[in-house]
Amino acid sequence: MTAPGEKAHPEEAKLLQLLDADGRRVPDPELERWVEDVSTDQLGALYEDMAIARRIDVEATALQRQGELGLWPPLLGQEASQIGSARALREDDFVFSSYRENGVAYCRGVGFEDILRVWRGNSGSGWDPYSINMATPQIIIGAQTLHATGYALGCQQDGVDSAAIAYFGDGATSEGDVNEAMVFAASFQAPVIFFCQNNQWAISEPVGLQARRPIAGRAPGFGIPSLRVDGNDVLAVLAATRIALDRARSGGGPTFIEAVTYRVGPHTTSDDPTRYEDSNQREDWVRRDPLARVEAHLAAAGFFSDGFRDGVKAKADDAAARLRAGCHSLKDPEPMTVFEHVYSSPHPALERQRARYTQYLATIEGGNR
């Protein structure tokens, strides 16, 4: 059995990379042509996105600690994977994510209070999926990969060149659904991207328990080309996702991307990683921080001025403030909404329960009991 805590797949095929941990450009002719258009300015914008995503995440964690949220699943450390991939998408692409993709949701233009609605316990979804072309985050591990495949099949049938992207974790790759999604996607050549953030952990279980070989190696056997990319390198992730999208749009079918990254925070605010995590391992990964390397790169390019830094900080703080305000603005749901939207038209058994409970509440309030 794999010893928990071991670094998974370290010896394996190296990662696609464009920016190393110190912010130096790594040459990769295949990859870099996909991000030729990304100017220093635009790299700055990606940095800003990552900084805001991180700031939002930290703020939400604080809100949870302060009792404002029931739970929060931090994305700390995974900013490059999320921003790099989300920024490759078009508006008409559709995202099917897990619970951790709040950086992606941010890129899709989600309202700040909508990010928190679910975690505050106000509702089952934060936003109308069609308003930002992103489905409600999925909690059942892996289930969304099939939804993305079906949606992509719909795009294909509609004759449009939109794509679907499914986000999921390393742990999710063990679930039957994810494998069935690969079978279906390959069989129908659906324009879908399987974007796996391998953050090394499924709660307390190290990736080596789920997969003896690098995860990206699994897809080709299903007939799906795959890319294994440094998930802490926003440029490389952007490039990889563009490659996959281009393939999807041009009828080339699905692509699997493994973004190798690290969950620097706990699984959720309920988790206690000290029970299972080797702190040296975390330290190693913190040194490969996705923001720091862009910072270093921008600094070397003379772009990381005080003005830029302060501007980003101001925007991030503003986002955090709006998040907090959004949180406080959320009103508790009305009691009777518990009965709403179960069906799209009335269901007699439920209507009877609704009528009785209305009566019951009236009695309680009337002080009869």
Binding site: F94, S125, P129, A135, L146, G150, A164, P348
Partner: protein, 335 residues
């Protein structure tokens, strides 16, 4: 008006739904060239193309989960599960996704998915091919569950299911696939509301509730009972979620007696809910405790034993005797 078998009546309902709405697509195993193992989709791939009648890889979660994505994109997928016993690998996608997405998204996303399931026994099949899993789905909020008993209903009900904006489990009584009857394909879709029960035979002494394959058995029982001077009112539920309790209640208020029959195991089955709800609604009208005539609490047995598992005319009449206070198999037994 044409004379159709129940399976052909569903086929013609599917064809009509596909003609009416280009967003209707069929997904399933062997539904294309083969036309399904029961030939319910016979000819549809030929006429509508492989992009609308889709032979899928062999994976039920895959079929349902893919349908969820298609529904997200505005399609109205109709999934075929080859046999009742093969629905369980898709259970998670049905219960956690299909059933809950409308609620989860506060109404923003609709899941107009129809899941067709040939169900029930009586065809001498091997394991997993004769089950009646309807209670699992009726107990799941967010799903609608219906079952047809005759060609005319089958034709209209499959179209109603597809037209419905909610997910619908459509249980097809496989041993009645070959039942023939006149079908008026021009009847309006709302000739009866989806969810409404049907008085299949009027009667005065006791109410006999059935659905799907056992409606015919119940009607046969009513005929036999009439010979003994007992007038049974047979109700074909047609819908299990919701159940048309108003119709059942009205009948039991008149008869004072209730017998429910289904093939599924008795405990925690459809019959329990009917007995409980009708007791609640008709407590002062009941002359006897409601009786259930059902499959036993055993896995569906091998073919040579199924006659001992399946409710039949005699077991139904025995229960009728019981609610009528007539001599019956348990008289004086205290069982």
């Amino acid at each position: 008006m044409s004379t159709l078998t129940l399976s052909k009546a569903i086929n013609s309902g599917l064809r009509r739904a596909m003609d009416d709405d280009p967003k209707v697509v069929l997904l399933g195993e062997d539904i294309g060239k083969l036309g399904g193992v029961f030939r319910v989709t016979d000819g549809l791939q030929k006429d509508f193309g492989a992009h609308r009648v889709i032979d899928t890889p062999l994976a039920e979660a895959g079929i349902i989960g893919t349908a969820v994505g298609l529904a997200y994109r505005g399609y109205r997928p109709v999934c075929e599960i080859q046999f009742d016993g093969f629905i369980y690998p898709g259970f998670d996608q049905i219960v956690s996704q299909v059933a809950k997405l409308h609620y989860r998204t506060r109404g923003a996303v609709k899941m107009p998915i129809t899941i067709r399931v040939p169900f029930g026994g009586g065809i001498g099949a091997v394991e997993h091919h004769s089950e009646s899993p309807e209670a699992y789905f009726a107990h799941t909020a967010g799903l609608r569950v219906i079952s047809c008993s005759n060609p005319q209903d089958a034709h209209l009900m499959i179209r109603q299911a597809i037209a419905c904006d909610d997910p619908v489990l459509f249980f097809e009584p496989k041993r009645r696939y070959w039942t023939k009857a006149d079908v008026d394909e021009s009847l309006a879709l709302d000739s009866f509301p989806m969810g409404s029960a049907r008085i299949a035979a009027a009667g005065t002494d006791a109410t006999l509730v059935a659905y799907g394959p056992l409606v015919q058995t119940a009607l046969d029982a009513a005929t036999a009972a009439a010979d003994e001077g007992i007038s049974l009112e047979v109700i074909d539920l047609r819908s299990l979620s919701p159940i048309d309790f108003d119709t059942v209640e009205a009948s039991v208020r008149r008869t004072g007696r209730l017998v429910v029959t289904h093939e599924a195991q008795q405990s925690f089955g459809i019959g329990a809910e009917i007995a409980a709800s009708i007791t609640e609604r008709c407590f002062y009208h009941l002359e006897a405790a409601p009786e259930r005539v059902t499959g036993f609490d055993v896995p569906y047995p091998p073919a040579k034993l199924e006659e001992h598992y399946l409710p039949d005319l005699d077991r139904i009449l025995d229960a009728v005797d019981r609610v009528m206070g007539r001599p019956n198999s348990l008289s004086g037994q205290g069982l």
